[in-house]
Each structure stands twice: as C-alpha cells, then as structure tokens.
Assembly symmetry: C2
Homo-oligomer: 536 residues x 2
C-alpha cells in the first residue's frame, strides 16, 4: 500500500532556492589572497549559482558530466557546489595539495569535461594542463587581478546568463558531487555523492547532538571544500541559513584566529593539526584573542584528550566526530550523553576524546578477527563497518572488492580498528594497517601517539611499526617538542609507563622539527615510514 504523501525528491536545488528565498539577507564572507574580504549575501549567491548552471547548460554540459574545481574555500567554490548540480552536472573537487601528476591522473580517470580554477592556482594547473583534455577552463579572479590573456573568465562566463533558467531534471539518486580518496595505498579512488545522500546527511549533521548548526551560527570551514565534500558544511550551512566565513588560502593559525574573532565565528571545523597549532597560540597569549561562543569541530583523525582539555581551559569547546570520504564526511554525533555527564568532568573529557555515536539513519558494527559481530562493551576490538544512505557502496569504475566491502557490498569496511562502548561511543584503536604486532600481541599506534602528545612538552607525535627479528614488529615514536629540544628517553618512558605495559613502549624516540602531513592535514605515516626506510 502506497502512502498519500508527495513524491517530492531530496534535491540540492531545494537547498539553493531555500538560501535565496528564506535567507537572502544572510552574508557569505570570503578571505581573498591579499586578506581583504569579499562579502555578499545568499541572495546574490543564489542568483550567481543559477547563472553558472544556466551557462553550463548553454556550454553543452550534459546530465552526469563532471566539472572539476581547483579552488580554495571561497564564494565561487560555493557557487560551483550548487550551480554544477543545478545544471545536472557533478562537482568534482580536486585536492590542490596533491602532486600535479596525481591530479592529472584523477582528472583523466573521472573524465572531467570542464574546470573552474582560482587564478592563484593557475601555476598548479599549468603543471598538469598538458596531461589532461579539458574542454573549457574558467578562471575565477579570486586575487582581484585581471584574468591572464588567453584564459576564460568565470565572471564573464556567468555574466552571460539571462536569469531565465529551470533546473535540469534529475532523480534524487543522481550524481551531484565527486571526491577521490587521498589514497594511502594504490591509486586514489572516486566516491560519487547523490542529491539524496547530501540532503539526508545535511539534516543529520545539523542535529543538536551533532554539529548543532542553526541560523544563529556563523560557520568557518577550515576543512577544504575539496576534502570529503567540505564535510558537507557548504550544504548544511545554507540549509539552516547559517552565515558562512570562507578562509581562502590562509589557513595559518594567526589568520584563522583573526577571522574567527573579527567575523564573530561560532563554529569552525578542521583537522587536529590545525587545532594543535591554535592551542599553542592560545597558550602563548591567553589574553590576546576574544572568541565568545566559538565551538571547534575536529575530525579526520583523532585529537588527543589533552588538547580537548587545553581548549577547555580557554573556554572553547572541542567536539570530535568520525567520518571518511567514503561516508561523505561526518557519520557520527558529537555530544556527550547525560549518563556520562553524570559521572563528572573526567568522564566527559574521556567521552569527548572518542568519536561520537553512529549518526541517525546510519548503522555501525565491529567485526572481530573471526568474522563475528563484537558486542558494544568498549573492550571488544575489530574492524569498524558502516552502512546507510550516505555511505558509498562502490568506487567509480573500480570493481567492488572484498577488502573494501562486506556481505555483498551491504557494509563498508572502513579499515579502522575500533571498539564501541555500551552508550554507543566509537573509539578508534588504529587503522588496520597501522596496528603494531609485537610477539603476537597488538599494540595501538594511535593510543601511544595520544599518550605521548599529552606530555606537556610534546606538540606532535606519531608511532610507526619497524620490523624486528625477534618480535616481528616494534613501535618507533617520532616526536616534535614545543621547545625544539629533545627529551630524555627515560622521561617519556616513565610518563608512558603509567598507562602502558613496559613491552608496549616504543623502542626508541626520534626527535624532529615537524611530522609530515598528508594532503588533508593528517600525520602521514607513509612519508614517515619512507623517511626511516620502513616498508609501509
């Protein structure tokens, strides 16, 4: 028996019209390369995104065609997020931190037809333009300078629109956006998001227990819009009518703190590496920054409990969630349940160092080494598997492989080793491939890293496995100190012995200036392994 309800689809076009109709007065602020600020409203955004769509259709874009973006977080990127799907196309965000050869490979694999590129990123484009076959390249004059001769201006392109445009017809399950994984092993793999998956996630992400986003907020996504759909914030913020502040290319601590203070930001989101730097700056000058009501969303990898406590001392609340490119970003709630709060502040901090509870509409399970579903007891360890409306079931043009999907593709194998506690909180023990097997026992590199980083004189730490004749593998720690001076091995051993058995401690600590990061700002264990000549 069918219901009597309307068959209204879940569409990004609706979010765009909502921004234009309900929130036309609300501001979008973009920091330009020269640090001046571009300001306009959702009203203008709505008109320009629709103009982009109209002109893409006029230029011959067909439903399902990919339009790549090579852009910082700015107003034009926001227009691309909406204008391309409005035209029936797929917004394919390119990671500008990848090597040019890798970008070229991705453009060719995705079969991108058009590219929108910030003028300040043209030098990067020049490095791969000969390797790709793009029909049109639209240059955004983000710097404020004229578009170089011989290039086509994004402004002139959308300036040709008549305003007489109807959204291209499509289904809610049609492709809307596309993102390649950063690919720590093998080639990057493409995940394709739908109008439906984006709308449902936007609703779930804004919930009070998750990002808690409303029209009273000003959101500053530090996370790049080319990283896992910008954590869906460009869609979620417009849906609820939150003001947006887009930081452009300046993601250094000083620039971010200034933007947050001057634009009265209430929600900012990014990877732990960013927040560890911000915390150091706050600790160094506790009186300098006034950030009333600012909430910090951390994701991408685990932020140590010590850092959460550190922000708390400055009156700032850090929340942590879990997700991956394959889950279109955020897949958990963030907040602490009242049962935990009732146990006091230490219990709250421990909970906030976990990864939240699987989001409404998604499901999670832990599969142990024997292939059995593990209980939610906070102890039983296994691979985290998830499923639901914003979880991928495959990769673009790649056969569905058993190491990535379980039960005939019904569940995504995340590659994260985790536990779930009785209240549903996810704790990541490690990446499957980063666990250290010593004498037949598992050691979690993540737990060692977090413990080392909680030492007051340590700012960054990562732990890798090195081959060992007797034990198979042993942990090696790579550490950055605040002072730049190395610490005694005995000091760190003594610090760790409070929490770990002796045999779990790193065999050695190597002190360095900086831990190499991946293109998305996580510690790159792959690069660290290469530095120390260890097979990944």
């Amino acid at each position: 028996m069918q219901s009597t309800m309307m068959g209204a689809p879940l569409m990004i076009d609706h979010l765009l019209d909502r921004a234009g109709k309900v929130f036309p007065q609300v501001e979008v602020v973009s920091q330009r390369p020269d640090r001046s600020r571009h300001r306009y409203t959702y009203g203008e955004f709505h008109q320009r995104a629709r103009a982009l769509a109209e002109m893409l259709v006029n230029a011959g874009l067909k439903p399902g065609d990919r339009v790549a973006t090579l852009m910082w977080n700015n107003y034009a990127h926001l227009e691309a997020y909406y204008g391309i799907p409005a035209a029936g196309g797929v917004t394919h965000t390119l990671n500008l931190r990848l090597h040019a050869d890798e970008i070229a490979w991705i453009v060719n694999h995705a079969e991108d037809r058009f590219l929108i590129v910030d003028d300040v990123l043209l030098p990067l484009y020049e490095q791969f333009r000969e390797q790709v076959n793009l029909e049109r390249v639209l240059v955004v004059p983000f710097s404020g300078e004229d578009v170089p001769p011989g290039m086509e201006s994004y402004e002139e392109f959308i300036g040709g629109a008549s305003g007489d445009f109807s959204y291209v017809e499509k289904e809610e399950t049609d492709a809307a956006a596309m993102c390649y994984t950063s690919g720590t092993t093998g080639r990057p793999k493409g995940v394709i998001y739908s109008h439906r998956s984006i709308c449902i996630q936007a609703l779930a992400a804004a919930l009070p227990d998750a990002i808690n986003l409303s029209f009273r907020d000003t959101a500053l996504p530090v996370v790049p819009m080319f990283h896992a759909n910008g954590w869906t914030l460009p869609y979620t913020a417009a849906m609820v009518g939150a003001r947006q502040v887009l930081p452009g290319p300046h993601l250094d601590t000083e620039s971010l703190l200034r933007l947050c203070q001057e634009e009265r930001v209430t929600l900012t989101a990014g990877v732990p590496a960013i927040w560890l730097g911000v915390l150091q700056a706050l600790d160094a000058e506790p009186e300098r920054w006034k950030l009333p009501g600012l909430r910090v969303l951390s994701g991408g990898s685990a932020i140590p409990e010590s850092a959460i406590r550190g922000f708390d001392r400055h009156g700032l609340k850090v929340s942590q969630g879990w997700g991956m490119t394959e889950t279109q970003s955020l897949a958990t709630t963030l907040d602490v349940r009242p049962e935990t709060s009732a146990q006091g502040r230490d219990a709250e901090f421990a909970c906030r160092a976990r990864m939240g509870i699987i989001s409404p509409m998604l499901e999670a399970r832990i599969i142990d080494d024997n292939g059995n579903e593990a209980p939610w007891d906070g102890e039983s360890v296994g691979e985290l598997q998830v499923r639901g409306p914003w979880v991928t079931a495959s990769y673009h043009k790649v056969p569905v492989a058993e190491d990535k999907f379980a039960d005939n593709g019904e569940w995504l194998r995340t590659g994260d080793v985790a536990t779930i506690d009785p209240l549903g909180y996810l704790r990541l023990v490690d990446r499957t491939k980063d666990l250290i097997k010593s004498g037949g026992e598992w050691i979690s590199s993540v737990e060692l890293e977090n413990a080392i980083m909680s030492h007051p004189q340590v700012s960054e730490a990562t732990v890798i496995a090195v081959p060992h004749e007797k034990w198979g593998e042993r942990p090696l720690a790579v550490v950055v100190t605040r002072s730049g001076e190395p610490l005694e091995k005995a000091t760190l051993d003594a610090f760790l012995e409070k929490r770990f058995a002796r045999w779990m401690l790193p065999d050695d600590y190597i002190f360095t200036d900086e831990i190499p990061k991946t293109s998305t700002g996580k510690f790159s264990k792959k690069t660290v392994r290469e530095q120390f000549g260890v097979q990944g």
Copy 2:
C-alpha cells in the same frame, strides 16, 4: 549518472533498532489511569515492539493492512507506532474524542482489520463494536486490571513471540501510519504517511531551529498520539534517544505540571488551550512549581503573544510552529532569527507569536485572490500553499479535488489565510472559512481573538461572523473571563480600539463559562456557530 552511494532506504525499522541498540538504557515513563507510573527502557520497548510485529505477521497481517489504535499516550501505543509498520502494516490512530458513530465510519472507511485498545477505553469501543467488522481486538491492560473475559489480552498476544523475527520487506514510500482529519466540513479524510515521510520529518523536526531535540532531553507529548501522528514526537524522540514521558489519560493542568516537575521534563508539546490553563495555574501559584529548563511547544492553532509573554515571566520558553494532519504535523521551524533578536525583546515576542519559517525540505507560497504568488513582505495576504516530502498529495479513497490541491496536485491548499514576512515568518490571518467580510472588507477573526485574549481579565475568546443585513457579516465575540464575571462592552471596545479600526470591533461580546473545543483541543467555531444559530 548514478552515484556510488548505498540504496539504503529510510525506514521506521531503523529508528526502532537505533533505540534498542544505541539507547537501550533510556527510560520511557507512562502515567497509568490510577496515576502510578509504568517505567521501562528503550531496550524493553525494542524487544516488545518487535514481538508485536512478529505476532501480527503470525496472525495473518499482510503488507499494507491497517491496524487501528484506540489508545492514550502510553508505552503500548509507542509499541504500536513501531511494531505495526515493522510487520508491514499501517498504524491507524483513532481519535477517541470523536463520536462513536464517527469512529465507526472511519474504521470502516479505512478497512481496519485489527484493533489495539486501552482497557479503560473499552466502554467507547462497546459503543461502536456492532458497527464495525474487526477480526482481532487486542486489549492493553493499561489500568493494571485483568482483561475482561471474552477479550484478547495484548500482553498474552505479544507474549507468544519467539524473538526470531525479520522485518517485513517494504519500500520507504510504503504506507506506515494513517490519520483522519478532524473534518470541520464534510466527512473526515484519511492521510497516509510513509516510512520515508516520517524519517525525513523526524530529522527536520529535531533541528536546533525547530524542536531542538537531543539525547539530553526528556519529552512529554501532551498532544495525543492520535493527533497528526503525535506531531511525530514518538519517532523523533526515539531517533535522537530522548527520554519519553507519556501522560496517559490525565491531561489536566495539575497532573501535567506534577509530571513535568517530578520527571524533570525539558520539552512538552500541545495545543494552546492546554497552555492557557497552565499559565493560569502558574500565575495563581508562582512559587509552587519548579520547572527548570522546560521548553513548551505550542501548535494546532495560534497562541496569543500575551500568553508567550506570560510564560516568559515564569522563565519558561514557549515556541510556536505550524502544521496540520496533511503535513504530518510540524512543517515550520520555531526559533527567532538573529536579525529579529537584534531589534529587541518586543520584536522577539512578536516573532514568536508567528508560526515560524517553512521547514528545510518543504516549500511555502502565498496565493492571492487573483491566483498570483504574493511577495514575502509581511503584508500581502493570500492562501498558504505548501509542498514537500511530508505533505500529502491526496486523501485515502477520495478523488483529488481542486479546492484541496493546486497545480495538478503539486501544492497542498492549506485553507489558511496568511502572510510571510521578508525573514520567512508565517503569520496566519485566519482560516479561509473564518474570515469575516464586512462591507466588502475582510476582518480577521484570529487577530481579534488574540487581541481580546491579551486583556488581563480574559482567559479565552473566539470570534465568529454573524450575518448582517447591511454589512453582509459582522464579528461577534464569545469571551471567558478569569473571574467568571462579564466585562463592560465599553471596556473591551476601548481596549481593542488601540489596535483596530472602529468598524472592525465586534458588534457584541457574549460571556460564557467555557468555549467548546474540537476533539483536538482547538476552539470549535463550528459548535459556537451552532450554539448561536449561525450557519457555518
């Protein structure tokens, strides 16, 4: 081009499993007829709702079959909300405040096969049992007494389950629940909700700008679960893991206040008539009740600004939304935008007396007398029309009529006359059929009512049109005073003249003890008109 995302459907079964898996420790409290309290957890609820589903399938329930409920808000009704759709059936909530003949008509029209009924409501069932043809009648021993001889016990029925049950396969667009409009004109009409419409609305309703519901909340729905899907709260609360307090048959002011205080309720929801009574009780004994953090959601008809201000004096926040059976209940957000808050407290109160902003994923428009879309200027008046995933496109077994749907059924005609202001706030001017046309000019009965109710000595007021030889129609006010003593006509005229032109004032005020209410607690203008011999 298809996305790579999973085709995971939006299902009530997921909400049920989520409650059982993520929130098994969270409590559901039900007030029994003797005012004792039944307590159990979502864990037990999950197991019992699945047992109900298993036994319904065993009893021969087929996909799409209707199971009626004649029940107060209690744990068994909650189980029916989930167990019936889990079995592939449709939960058809019967309005126990209707006349028995009308209930019988509705049961027959819906072709209900089974009935679940509270034992305390058996006398009502007896009044219509001969008029209907129900195959099984399951009696919930809600009073704690044995089920009467010859009747089948709900507890024994679900007690037969093995626990070995798989959800009946279905599509997300399949029917899950059914509710008949209270039908102020003609026969009641059935609206059928789907798994999809319920899940999407549950997400939107919990948003920070709407009900703002989280796992830190305790929700007490005063609104009956037979009224517009219980405003979807039984689904929304389980989805986010909020504790639930179900008041059973005791909806008097004293009982509600006691429950709210003793169970530390943070969110309660119901019609204005309930809150006007509560406000009188709070005013009478301001020190008696301790209700920290309680939010009040008002809907169903307009609550006067004076009442919102009154609750505010007691530190309690009233939020108001708009919806109808045809929109599965709540269709707007509730909160005040920062642009309005910036204008001060009077502007905030005026905004809160409006009906919120159309919800994400829904659309609203105002169609004027000439059939044109009116601007969102807060002035232009017309019929409110809405559409989206939780708006009905038809009525069960009724041909789609032009007076109910516009543009080939794409928009629902709500019958509400309204304006929308530039920030998106909906203001209801009147029901189409309640507007008063005097000398060719429209007078809003709702605005007059709200103004009269803002007089400190008035507790209830309604305004109807009476025929007039010269002017066509003129307003007549029916008023209840706090003291029970009538007021002078000149007093009320003088009070109203501050806001209305003289010709808009009621020709007369009639003082009475109580204004008759509809089965859903709204002022029944139909009954008032009958009392005064006026054609409706």
